[in-house]
């Protein structure tokens, strides 16, 4: 079973990260990495509302023990408001798969997850809230950001952001991470360092 999870993670971790649901027929590939966790997924959007794919999570207790999950996942755009100068979204997430536990007790078992996220953005402001619920732990994340200018479509976009995140039943601490977000055409990357000195590196590609 562990081999299956490792194989799945190897397939996925060679890729990158992306928004939950994109345009019909689009692939979203993502890699989000911090000291306590990493999340990698590949999603295919069947429509602008519904995407399916494979998702890999790793949670670390920083003593060399990891919990890893490989999931078959769906993302669903529940609601979208396209304003003249803004967009707001609510997404739902769900998945089933296999979990290889090494924190607290060692076991491999079937697992599932569910989640929701809401965001609102303009060309210069961004806010988002996320919550993912797993069997043994949960991830809550909030983000706010701004772009110093309204950048044209074909130019490099630069954003300043702050992320607050907690992994309940793992570290139970709120990690504050200021970061820089850049995107150019279909590639997005984020770099940051938490107030405790933990690095963060995220990469996202749509194609």
């Amino acid at each position: 079973m562990k081999t299956l999870i490792t194989l799945l993670s190897l397939i996925i971790t060679t890729s990158t990260f992306a928004h939950p649901v994109i345009y019909k027929g689009g692939w979203a590939v993502s890699s989000a990495n911090m000291a306590d966790y990493s999340n990698n997924y590949v999603m295919y959007s069947l429509s602008h509302r519904f995407a399916i794919g494979a998702d890999h999570w790793r949670f670390s207790d920083r003593t060399g023990n990891d919990n890893e999950m490989g999931l078959a996942k769906f993302n669903y755009l529940l609601w979208r408001a396209n304003g003249e100068n803004s967009q707001a979204n609510i997404y739902l997430h769900g998945g089933v798969g296999v979990e290889d536990q090494n924190i607290e007790k060692k076991q491999t078992r079937g697992t599932f997850m569910g989640g929701a996220e809401i965001d609102w953005e303009t060309r210069t402001l961004f806010t988002a809230l996320k919550h993912y619920q797993f069997q043994n732990l949960s991830v809550s994340q909030a983000r706010v950001g701004f772009s110093p200018k309204e950048t044209p479509f074909d130019e490099l976009q630069t954003w300043f952001m702050v992320q607050a995140m907690t992994i309940n039943n793992l570290n139970d601490q709120v990690m504050i991470t200021p970061m820089l977000r850049f995107f150019y055409h279909n590639v997005l990357w984020e770099m940051g360092s938490s107030t405790k000195g933990d690095w963060m590196l995220n990469l996202m590609v749509h194609y």
């Binding site: 928004h19 345009y23 602008h48 003249e84 967009q87 309204e150 044209p152």
Partner: protein, 93 residues
């Protein structure tokens, strides 16, 4: 008589769209350039489309068609919807 027929045919071709078209589509919610890549990609798959220009400042997608080609409003709305946005207005030149 023959001359008049040719002139009539030429006028008919002009009115039925034998020339390339410029279509401006006003799109709601288009605030993120990375997300709007889907709009460009959708239109570029259409063989009638020569070029697509996305302008976030005025929320406009400018479509140029090949000579004698057109993209129907229903198809434009389909592409924009599949990219996750709403069409506010379509104007043709």
């Amino acid at each position: 008589m023959k001359k008049n027929l040719l002139l009539g045919a030429a006028l008919l071709m002009m009115t039925t769209g034998a020339f390339a078209k410029e279509i401006n589509v006003k799109v709601s919610g288009m605030v993120c350039s990375m997300c709007a890549q889907g709009i460009e990609k959708k239109f570029k798959t259409d063989p009638s489309v020569k070029s697509v220009d996305v302008n976030l400042d005025n929320k406009l997608v400018k479509i140029s068609t090949h000579e004698g080609k057109d993209v129907e409003d229903t198809l434009i709305k389909k592409y924009i919807t599949e990219a996750g946005y709403n069409v506010a207005e379509i104007t043709r030149q």
